[in-house]
Symmetry: C2
Subunit: 505 residues, 2 copies
């Protein structure tokens, strides 16, 4: 850890408290510790972190223990039955409240050959040429030059090691100036988020007391696509269904049995068609029940600087489903999506048959108001109302012969949604923190459309939880050539500084 060689200006007056640092103070402090921040980032992304390889995770665990332990955090490994969770704690003197920070250390698997660099775990610095290509430049240039649009390319640079390095940098900046938060800090480090954190919800139940806090801040995920400072108050949950319909027990010649043997693809098409109106709105009664959006919340949704025309242009769609009238509104509701559908063969492999089965894969994205069990019940009732007998297995002959229409329904609730009220105390605190850091109101996302494995954790802990995303949305998360924009990394350090210097009593 590099020692500061000079005292920042704002410390000339010893009476200044951490909690009164202004935007320019935070900027100056970030600037002073920029090189240290870059060092930390390059160091942490150099440790391979595919959770499929236990030895890689072990190395990351050791690094985290060194880093947080070295900064005076007390460490506890929480047993999960699988890879451990690492809990790091630092109590504030006279700290009354506690904030729990969430980061994950593992990264998506890499397919080296698809990366435009030798090794996804050796970070490289790149700039965009006038032709729009990313070209490597000497890493050393970052020691003396700064361009916010340069990027560091490495696995987990954005998801989610970048935020860890931001946090550590901010912590060091404060420490070296003898400043510290006025609240207790707990940090939970997840080592298998990219595996869906399968053991996390159960671990919360086991270790609930140790994890308990007044607020949780999730340091993961990208900012709004506008790249403006962002707070995200929730995420949709996800559940899935697989529907299988049945025709003749084996495929039949379509000449001999076309318009005689019932066709399972038609049955499935008719069932699916009955679930939505032609404008894409779910027509199953009750599906959208319980969702009320206040005028204040609508104002928040409408304030998100989405480029609706831009989205439609990028997706090449002339209209949107009749659920919301704009993007943010749309994702406040549960979805019913056909993610896959199949019966027999298409294209060159197609055969003149009456297929024996047809399958639809459905995903139902959940919002806070939509209990997945209630939605499943509505869907099942609807299926039965269409004349189907629902089974949980492939029908045996007796069932095929007995019932006019049978369907196999397999269902899975992956995880529920979470959402913290925007007008909560936590929301107000975070807005204040962001306004201090950036001099303007953040983009506030009431819920993100996608689902995150942190949801069950939030749910089980049942405390206000808000995501403070920092990285650029075009970071190639989960893909080859993941990167972090230097401007985002720098803003992220400032964000962490602002969080740690915001009074919470």
């Amino acid at each position: 850890m590099k020692k500061l060689l000079y005292l920042p200006l704002f410390l000339i007056s010893q009476v200044i408290m951490a909690q009164s640092l202004s935007k320019s103070d935070l900027e100056a402090m970030t600037s002073d510790h920029w090189q240290h921040g870059l060092d930390l980032l390059r160091e942490i992304v150099s440790i391979p972190n595919d959770a499929a390889y236990k030895e890689q995770i072990t190395e990351n665990l050791i690094w985290c223990k060194d880093q947080f332990g070295g900064r005076g955090f007390s460490l506890t490994e929480l047993e999960t039955g699988g890879l451990p969770l690492l809990l790091a704690e630092r109590k504030a003197e006279n700290g009354e409240k506690t904030i729990l920070f969430y980061f994950h250390v593992d990264g998506q698997a890499v397919e080296k050959s698809k990366w435009n660099q030798e090794d996804p775990f050796i970070p490289v610095l790149k700039e965009k040429t006038s032709s729009g290509e990313w070209t490597e430049i000497q890493m050393e240039r970052a020691n003396t030059e700064y361009d916010p649009d340069w990027r560091i390319f490495a696995r987990s640079s954005s998801d989610d090691k970048g935020p860890i390095a931001m946090f550590l940098t901010a912590w060091d900046a404060l420490s070296e100036n003898n400043l510290s938060p006025d609240f207790n800090v707990k940090i939970i480090l997840d080592f298998e988020e990219e595996q869906g954190s399968p053991l996390l919800p159960e671990a919360v139940k086991t270790h609930r007391d140790k994890l308990m806090a007044d607020m949780m801040i999730i340091m993961d995920g990208p900012r709004h696509i506008s790249n403006e400072p962002t707070l995200t108050f929730g995420a949709r949950g996800i559940s899935t269904m697989t529907l299988t319909t049945y025709g003749p027990v084996v495929p039949q010649h379509s000449g001999h049995f076309g318009n005689y043997a019932p066709n399972p693809a038609f049955m499935l098409a008719q069932l699916l068609a009955s679930m939505k109106n032609e404008n894409g709105r779910v027509s199953i009664p009750g599906f959208y029940d319980g969702i009320e959006i206040s005028d204040e919340e609508r104002a928040v949704l409408a304030a998100v600087p989405d480029d609706e025309d831009g989205i439609r242009d990028r997706l090449q769609i002339s209209r949107i489903d009749d659920v919301g009238s704009y993007y943010q509104e749309s994702i406040q509701y549960p979805s019913l999506n056909i993610r896959g559908m199949n019966s027999a063969w298409v294209g060159k492999e197609s055969r003149t048959i009456v297929p024996s089965t047809a399958v639809a894969e459905i995903d139902v994205r959940l919002v806070k108001e939509s209990d997945p069990n209630r939605l499943f019940k509505l869907i099942e009732d609807h299926i039965q109302n269409q004349g189907f007998t629902i089974l949980d297995h492939d029908p045996i002959k007796e069932e095929r012969m007995k019932f006019e229409k049978v369907i196999k329904l397999e269902k899975n609730i992956a995880y529920q949604a979470f959402r913290t009220p925007i007008d909560s105390e936590a929301g107000a605190w975070l807005r204040g923190m962001m306004e201090r850091a950036f001099g303007k109101a953040p983009v506030q996302i009431r819920t993100s459309g996608g689902s995150v494995p942190i949801s069950p954790f939030v749910d089980a802990l049942d405390i206000p939880a808000v995501t403070v995303p920092t990285v650029n949305a075009d970071n190639n998360q989960h893909s080859p050539n993941e990167n972090i924009r230097l401007g985002n990394y720098r803003d992220g350090i400032r964000t962490a500084l602002s969080i740690l210097t915001q009074s919470y009593k």
Copy 2:
């Protein structure tokens, strides 16, 4: 060719004319020539006949020329631009009318490893054991013993070399007794039926005069499943459509864009659902127009000894599509069948996306009354009435952005149906022939459900055409372990004898 060593009883009286041969005469004559028939069958199936290999077809062509030329037929090779058609002709003294016989010489490709014998082109004799397995027995046993349920296994034993051997055997039986038909005989031998006879319709136009006849008898295909003597008066035609619907230009994350980006699988499901009612009856107006079945024809349909319960039991279906109320009635109408359907992935490969496209493969089986162009027009009008803009190509961005729902429609008319009226002169003649041969009325199939490549030939020639099938329905046609039941082969010889000895003036 084995010479007869004795004169059959019925020739003791020299005044007996061929045309007055009774059932028992035909039986005796068949019996007398049984060994010769077996020799011919074993010889013809020993010549490999996959039309994908020109040299194999050449060998078959040479064999056919030898056989028919050696029996006094005049031979003409009709150029098709591909594999030739062989026309063999024998005029009758004072023959007034002409019957054109159709056979095909080529066979389906073989996958040797899937056959339960060393070589599909070395015939073997088998009997069914009490456990239901087919076990090889010494071929020599067929020289002294006869069991109608024994079978000869070889490619093309049923489809369609068996019928050629039956015909040649019958011809020889007559010749050796100085008998001959009182009508002119033309025989057309097709060498690429299993390839769909792509050049046949055009060849008919070119060689129409040479092929012209008063009636055509198609010696191909299996008897009714009851294995009763059968006449088949037509076959459904077939046309196909591929429908593709479009969502976002590339698949989108279903969390971010589920219930925002229109889902192409739902669009497709809704379109398909609109084409049929829930009982499987096409609901597109006009689809079944023009089909009228007289009371007499209904009586014929009802007389077919189908085991409706048996079919449903075998297919494991509890109901049938609401087109006909029983099998024979069902296939008198055109079908609209989804033979394949796909959007994105199902099963283990499924992903949480909004797919970008969905595809349905449709086949429309045609009957005589249904002009495929008229049906296509009805379907297209229906699709447009559902709000789709029909394209013949994948939409470009401008089309995606301009139209609410676009669909790509690709269509192909493979071939039209054919059907000869049951109450035609040809029908009466063939019924008489069958009754004389078997002492009972044949099963009469008004139309078969499947489609046969002979249809365009029949259509182009525009003469009454009836199929006289002889082989067992469970012959494993097109599959490994193709076979012919000895009883069917024997009945087939008798059928050929009856045809050739039925007066046609």
